[in-house]
Amino acid sequence: MKNNIFYTFVILALVSSSLSAQNLLDKLEKEFPENTNYAIGTFKTTRIAIGQSIETRRKGQLEISVFSRFWDSPNSNKESFLADKSTHRFALEYGLTDRLTLGAGYTSFDGIYDSFLKYQLVKQQSGKTNIPISITLFQSYAYRSMQLGNVTPFVSGSDKSAYTTQVLIAKKFNSKFSAQITPTFVHRAKSILSEDPNSQFAIGFGARHKISKHASIVSEYYYVTNPLESVKTYDAFAVGINWELSHLMLQFHITNARNFAEDTFIMQTKNNFNFHDPNFHFGFNATFVLHTKKKKL
């Protein structure tokens, strides 16, 4: 009996000594001040695939990007390398503050200059305060410097202008999956043909799913509520892979959208999504981020 008690004591003493450091740790856990955990990297870059994501650039970050689309013309007898045709958008984005980004770009194929402001209104967070979604406001102005195919030439400068307003609403559901809904409003000063609406609405849906720590599958779809009357347009769709390499983000996708400026690709995509030429477009975005200001540690 005595022996039993002795052994029990020894065991208890051993257990308690190994546990006490753990007890210290448990005690410590209660000492953490309540803090806010922001959702980090909902989409990793400022575009999901073809459209804007809620992400903005932080203060002092400069984003240099080249977006490209490649496609083949139907019945082409050209034996070109890679693709018959291509378009590129060259752009810069700069974080004025941690929430406000200014961006501008030029697209080679349609000659559109676009500029925009993007403001992160609400950040998804948990902890002290709980906000389940992120909201970013987007306003762009696009200027068409080239005439569009065979349509009536534009008369004045304001006729070539388009304004796009988007409310980007996104949620990072878990470390792998994020989704976004994007109500979009486009206003054109004057439509090419009178029967076309000057103002158009669309709603975008986008999502990403991480397949590894640095790569994710993304998809986007924009549904247009009041499409153009004069030409047959299709809803823009894209599916692709985003691959992050340190400061460089590479995005590969297949899409039916040829243009880059928000007002054109959402509202004026003239190709359906399929694998026939010239509907099949291969998209490639390269985005490089430079830090012009470094934080002090």
Binding site: M1, K2, I5, F6, F9, L12, A13, S16, S17, S20, A21, Q22, L24, L25, K27, L28, E29, E31, F32, P33, N35, N37, Y38, I40, G41, K44, R58, Q61, N174, S175, K213, H214, E244, L245, S246, H247, V289, H291, K294, K295, K296, L297
Partner: protein, 183 residues
């Protein structure tokens, strides 16, 4: 049954379960800095909100920190660290529990000791020994030191294309200032 033995057990148990008051010290704004030096890129990050409890009776200490409290010079590094490497969504904290070896009494002044314990980062625990300078002044204790951790040991995967950007061994520095702990 033997009454004195029971009494002894009771006393000993009470000692082992309820540590005497005023023997515990807390650091609320401990600093942990890590460095990754490569020829391509130097990465440095600092956490100024590391918590630590030091029990000077048992010579034990515990450290806990939030991974998303690390500050980087470049914002993108912060994002990559939390999202792709440390996965702070899943493993929000790094912890350490350990015991100071050959530590009899806490004397005024400076002494260098080895702290042996378990370091947990990214959900993986590893035994480590850390050479630490312990300085006691009046009612405050200061612990400083540095050690090296191997990224691979904690199941943190670096893609081959980025292998030259991130060092295989990360050097970690710490500095804790402890004050008496009031519960």
């Amino acid at each position: 049954m033997n009454k004195p033995l029971l009494f002894l057990i009771a006393i000993l148990l009470s000692f082992s379960f309820i540590p005497p008051k005023k023997s515990q010290f807390i650091a609320r704004q401990g600093q942990v800095t890590f460095f990754s030096y490569t020829s391509v890129e130097n990465i440095e990050a600092k956490n100024n909100q590391v918590l630590s409890l030091f029990d000077t009776n048992k010579n034990e200490l515990a450290v806990s920190m939030l991974m998303n409290a690390f500050i980087f010079k470049k914002e993108l590094m912060y994002e990559h660290f939390n999202d792709s490497y440390i996965e702070s969504d899943i493993y929000p904290k790094a912890t350490f529990i350990g015991k100071v070896e050959d530590f009899d009494t806490l004397e005024e002044g400076e002494q260098t000791k080895i702290i042996k314990g378990t370091l947990t980062i990214h959900g993986i625990s590893k035994e480590v020994s850390i050479k630490t300078k312990i300085t006691k002044q009046n009612n405050t204790i200061n612990l400083t030191g540095d050690f090296i951790v191997t990224v691979k040991d904690f199941n943190i995967k670096i893609p081959p294309v980025l292998a030259s950007n991130i060092a295989k061994n990360i050097s970690i520095k710490f500095n804790f200032n402890y004050l008496p702990y009031e519960e």
